[in-house]
């Protein structure tokens, strides 16, 4: 078992991550503005920006989902309880004592169990909750004449806003997590240049050196 610097985030994944980040920040700012929490951008411009950004994000997600399933990368997100307790214990106690993070990245398991669970929940609960309600909201003009449309819109808005609060919470935790471990920079760089330290089996190492030398340093 050797620890090597391996490219674990492909160009597309990095583009996906950063453009998604940008779009979500714009959506959060304009969305909470539309909700009335601030007035940094006019309502008209907020609606335009919010809608345009949301549609762009949906397009990005369509590409992302396609990529996940065609590259088998979706397997990184399969939830597991193996090692979960260790990670949980680390963030609760170990981190304060300067312990080493219990999880080691594997070539086919680049997220720790807590991370994988968090990202999976984000992908299958929060994101669908916000984009499905968002689309229903956006297409209000098409169903506004149904009976009780106003009450239904109220419900849709409620779920949409609740999901937005939850996503904002995720963003804070996600960014904070970058400050743990070695350094902020060490967490950030893999998502910029793609390379991170990964525990490789001898077979994986041999394969990468022979067949994908550009992906291992």
């Amino acid at each position: 078992m050797a620890t090597r610097r391996v490219k674990i985030f492909s160009l597309f994944e990095r583009f996906w991550h950063w453009s998604q980040m940008l779009l979500i920040v714009v959506l959060l700012i304009t969305g909470f503005g539309l909700h009335g929490f601030h007035h940094l951008v006019s309502f008209k411009d907020s609606v335009t920006l919010h809608t345009a950004t949301a549609l762009t994000l949906l397009l990005l997600w369509a590409f992302g989902t396609f990529w996940l399933f065609t590259t088998r990368s979706w397997r990184h997100f399969i939830p597991t309880v193996e090692g979960m307790w260790g990670v949980f214990r680390y963030y609760s106690f170990g981190i304060f004592k300067g312990e080493r993070h219990p999880y080691r990245k594997a070539y086919w398991r680049k997220h720790n169990p807590l991370q994988a669970l968090a990202y999976t929940m984000l992908k299958i609960v929060l994101f669908p909750a916000i984009w499905i309600t968002g689309l229903i909201y956006l297409f209000y003009f098409a169903w506004r004449d149904l009976p009780h449309a106003t009450e239904m819109l109220h419900g849709v808005a409620l779920v949409h806003t609740a999901a937005a609060f939850a996503i904002l919470t995720f963003v804070f935790i996600h960014v904070y997590m970058l400050t743990t471990g070695h350094s902020f920079r060490d967490h950030l760089m893999p998502m910029i240049n793609g390379f991170d330290e990964v525990d490789l089996t001898p077979e994986e190492e041999a394969y990468l050196i022979k067949d994908e030398p550009e992906n291992i340093r």
Binding site: F15, G36, F43, Y140, T150, H154, T161, A162, Y176
Partner: protein
């Protein structure tokens, strides 16, 4: 790959962000011009005859009806047509409610009633000589063609009966009218013609409607984008299209939501709605915002956004009238007091012995409400609880669920006015007359109401009081240029929303769930606090060298 996706994303954003670059090219619309073009009067624009060349109109004429005879000599069918219209009949039976409406019968909360006061009020009847019940509505020569068609500006009308000397003095010393010159000047009605009465409803300039004032005789396009003399210069009849002397655009039967739009070419000669010209998707779909605005058309009357304020242009409207203070005299003589200086520099009366106290307003923000076009009038026949706090003169209905309804702007008129305390009805007040019961001149309201009711065989308990009444005036004129229309944020805002009081809709920006906001804020705030505490504990924890 990154570049191509980035380019795609950018182009999508740019396409959606463009907020009508094409529309701005013709900004401001309509283009302002230096010299006023002739007023645009709708489909009848042009004409085939020059009335100054007609021998029939050379005169001399000794009276209005003589001119009318000359008119009818060529316009053989016009008399019959005209007699069907409300300017002549002052009567309208609402086919939906069965209510008998029309100036001839109704009570308003300004001067209260024309009935019994025709000697004064019927100056605005498009005829000659209506002063009491004996007026002959079947005599074509009683029609007044000139008041609507003359263009010299020298024509005027005086009360049909002399009234009390206290009032008739107002109408003395006017120059004689050169009827032949006036008759030769006839054209399609100009704004000033209609404005003779419609700008002065309620007894003075802009008193009643709030959106119809003398400022519209020659308005800048910033006051009214359609009537603007430096712009489109529409006459009233450009929108209030006319078919055989019957006009579109009724206040007794309002089209609150036009679902037909422009119709086929040459059609739609029956309505004065915005949609009949602008269609059902009036905003050019060149941006997301415009797409959303076109969607709003289903719920929001055009007027709501496009008439941001009424009583603009320097002429004030009366918003509150108090008849309780009427009748004060100085040495037995009525008087009036000025007390409001309006935008155009003119003083307005804030007290008149004959009418009471007035409160004025200018550049007013309308009251907004769902409205389906149906008014329900409190007429002389309507019974109400005499102890009611206030009475709607013309209450209206409408809701989000009602497919005919939209959110409309209104002028709300509040008045304290006399009523029959014993029977719980409004009253006909005998204001104008030469007798000693007429309120104007004698100032005895008990006496004037008793006569006003008795003259029409109406029951009166003998006890009058004052009750608060509200009347509602849909605002539809003084359409501002589009750059002055309301923005999204004027309504979609948590506080001071224009539509703060409108129920039945969920409006993003205005509406929110209080508990969700509290829980959400606690969640986000709690998380922030949590990570800060977590970080601080890490920072102050003893560090083991070589590990992390």
């Amino acid at each position: 790959m990154r570049a191509s996706i980035g380019a795609l994303a950018c182009s999508v954003i740019l396409a959606l962000l463009s907020t009508g670059a094409v529309a701005r090219d013709t900004w401001p619309t309509p283009p302002a011009t230096d010299a006023s073009p002739p007023q645009v009067s709708g489909p009848l624009q042009g004409g085939t005859a020059d009335h100054t060349k007609f021998d029939e109109l050379k005169g001399p004429f000794s009276s209005g009806p003589e001119v009318t005879k000359a008119c009818l000599g060529c316009h053989t069918e016009t008399g019959k047509h005209f007699m069907r219209n409300i300017h002549w009949t002052w009567s309208y039976k609402n086919p939906d409610t069965g209510q008998q409406l029309g100036k001839r019968y109704l009570i308003n909360n300004f001067c209260t009633n024309a009935r019994g006061n025709e000697g004064m009020c019927a100056q605005c009847h498009a005829g000659y000589g209506w002063k009491d019940e004996s007026f002959d509505f079947s005599d074509e020569t009683n029609i007044d063609c000139l008041v609507c068609h003359e263009t010299t500006g020298t024509y005027y009308k005086t009360p049909n009966s002399s009234g009390s000397p206290a009032c008739s003095v107002m109408f003395e010393g006017k120059p004689p009218i050169d009827l032949a010159a006036v008759a030769a000047s006839v054209k399609l009605p100009q704004r000033a013609n209609c404005g003779t009465c419609h700008f002065n409803g309620g007894g003075g300039d802009n008193v009643k409607h709030g959106d119809l004032s003398s400022a519209l005789k020659k308005p800048p396009r910033s006051l009214d984008v359609h009537m603007g003399a430096d712009g489109l210069n529409f006459a009233c009849t450009a929108c209030h299209i006319t078919n055989r002397h019957v006009w579109a655009g009724s206040r007794y039967r309002v089209v609150a939501k036009d679902t037909e739009g422009t119709g086929k070419p040459g059609q739609r000669t029956d309505v004065a709605t915005c949609e009949s010209c602008h269609g059902l998707a009036p905003h050019p779909v060149d941006s997301l915002a415009h797409f959303k605005l076109n969607d709003h058309v289903k719920s929001i009357a055009c007027q709501t956004c496009h008439i941001p304020e009424f009583a603009r242009g320097g002429v004030a409207t009366i918003v509150d009238w108090d008849w309780r203070t009427a009748g004060k005299t100085k040495d037995g003589v009525g008087y009036h007091e000025e007390g409001y200086l309006q935008g155009n520099g003119e003083e307005r009366y804030t007290y008149k012995s004959i009418k009471g106290n007035f409160t004025y307003g200018e550049n007013l923000i309308p009251t907004y409400a769902w409205f389906n076009g149906q008014m329900h009038y409190t007429t002389i026949d309507t019974k109400f609880d005499p102890n009611a706090e206030s009475i709607d003169i013309n209450g209206f209905t409408g809701s989000r669920q009602d497919p005919r309804s939209r959110i409309w702007p209104f002028k709300r008129m509040h008045t304290w006015q006399p009523y029959d305390k014993g029977n719980g009805t409004l009253v006909y007040n005998h204001l104008w007359g030469e007798d000693d019961a007429a309120y104007w001149g004698n100032y005895d309201m008990g006496k004037s109401i008793a006569k006003g009711m008795a003259d029409f065989g109406l029951k009166y308990s003998g006890k009058f009081g004052f009750i608060q009444t509200i009347s509602w005036w849909p605002i539809t004129h003084m359409v501002a240029p589009k750059e002055q229309a309301l923005g999204c944020g004027d309504c979609h805002r948590p506080r001071d929303s224009r539509l703060a009081s409108v129920q039945g809709v969920y409006m993003p920006g205005r509406d929110h769930n209080r508990w969700l906001d509290i829980i959400g804020t606690l969640l986000v705030g709690g998380t922030l606090a949590g990570v800060i505490i977590h970080g601080l504990i890490r920072f102050f924890s003893p560090k083991t060298k070589g590990q992390h």
